[in-house]
Point group: C2
Chain length 175, copies 2
């Protein structure tokens, strides 16, 4: 007889190469690692909590072709973003459903590193799993890494999962 | 049917307060977290690898009362150190045996942070669990933390487990 399930939060984002609804290589890696190495066959012992943080579209480039004539048009834009995020989460939730691992998934807007740490405070998972690109120190200066920030600031144990060399795209900044 | 067990390396050290053979508060915390949150009831799905790194006694203070008259006397000193380390590991191995989790344990000498990363390279665990004292930035400058070094340099996923506030001794540098 086991106590309450171990709650593992997995931060997921979209692919920089393929865009929505495709998950980034590092998100998929973090997820598969969690299933294969931690959950294993003990599907009832764990609950996965998928958090997707959407970065507000600063330049609005994606909406250049849209015509905004009423407040509802802006609502439409926001809904479209949200739907994209939902399709991303669908991938993870479907996989969990197939395997029989209980899960929850939700979307937030903002700066991913800040929002992840804020949600950790609120949700209090037992473990936060974050994928990372495994960039060198030189590249990190320009890119900034969500995982490093979470390791320092998240109020729960954090594990970062680097992509394998085989999965790393030609430009390692892609994901 | 599951594949090979998930191999979790747990770095353990002696208590700064009680000394050998007592384990430090943070080592015990890291170990209990691994059992309660990761292994859970799936005892055959995991193998725990306990590594204890002994710091060579630089000032030799502990051996001030010893008389060294032959090379064998030095051997005796080294053996005594090793036996202390073995008693520390016994605690963890016994606990695993009680619960039925397969494990291995071994001792190395050297700078803990360097040796842990070296052993990770050699042993290639799926996860390294390191306890930490959860010191503030000011204290960290003087103490240096093994866990931070491992997060940056170990070639496997690393999770650091902070002591709870309730477990933290009056002087947080103690462990």
């Amino acid at each position: 007889m086991e106590g309450e399930a171990t709650r593992v939060m997995v931060a997921v984002n979209e692919s920089t190469i393929k865009g929505y609804p495709h998950a980034s290589i590092s998100s998929k890696g973090a997820f598969e690692w969690t299933l294969n190495k931690i959950v294993r066959s003990n599907t009832s012992g764990f609950k996965l909590l998928f958090l997707h943080v959407q970065v507000p579209d600063e330049d609005g480039f994606e909406d250049m072709d849209s015509i905004f004539a009423s407040p509802d048009d802006f609502k439409g834009m926001k809904n479209r973003d949200k739907i994209r995020g939902l399709h991303l989460l669908e991938y993870f939730v479907n996989r969990c459903h197939e395997i029989g691992v209980p899960c929850e998934a939700w979307i937030k807007k903002g700066d991913p590193k800040e929002v992840i740490c804020h949600e950790v405070k609120h949700v209090q998972p037992d473990l936060l799993v974050v994928g990372c690109r495994g960039l060198g120190p030189f590249q990190r200066v320009f890119v900034g890494t969500v995982s490093e920030f979470c390791v320092k600031h998240a109020e729960c144990p954090v594990v970062t999962i680097k992509r394998s060399a085989a999965e790393t795209p030609q430009d390692p900044i892609d994901d």
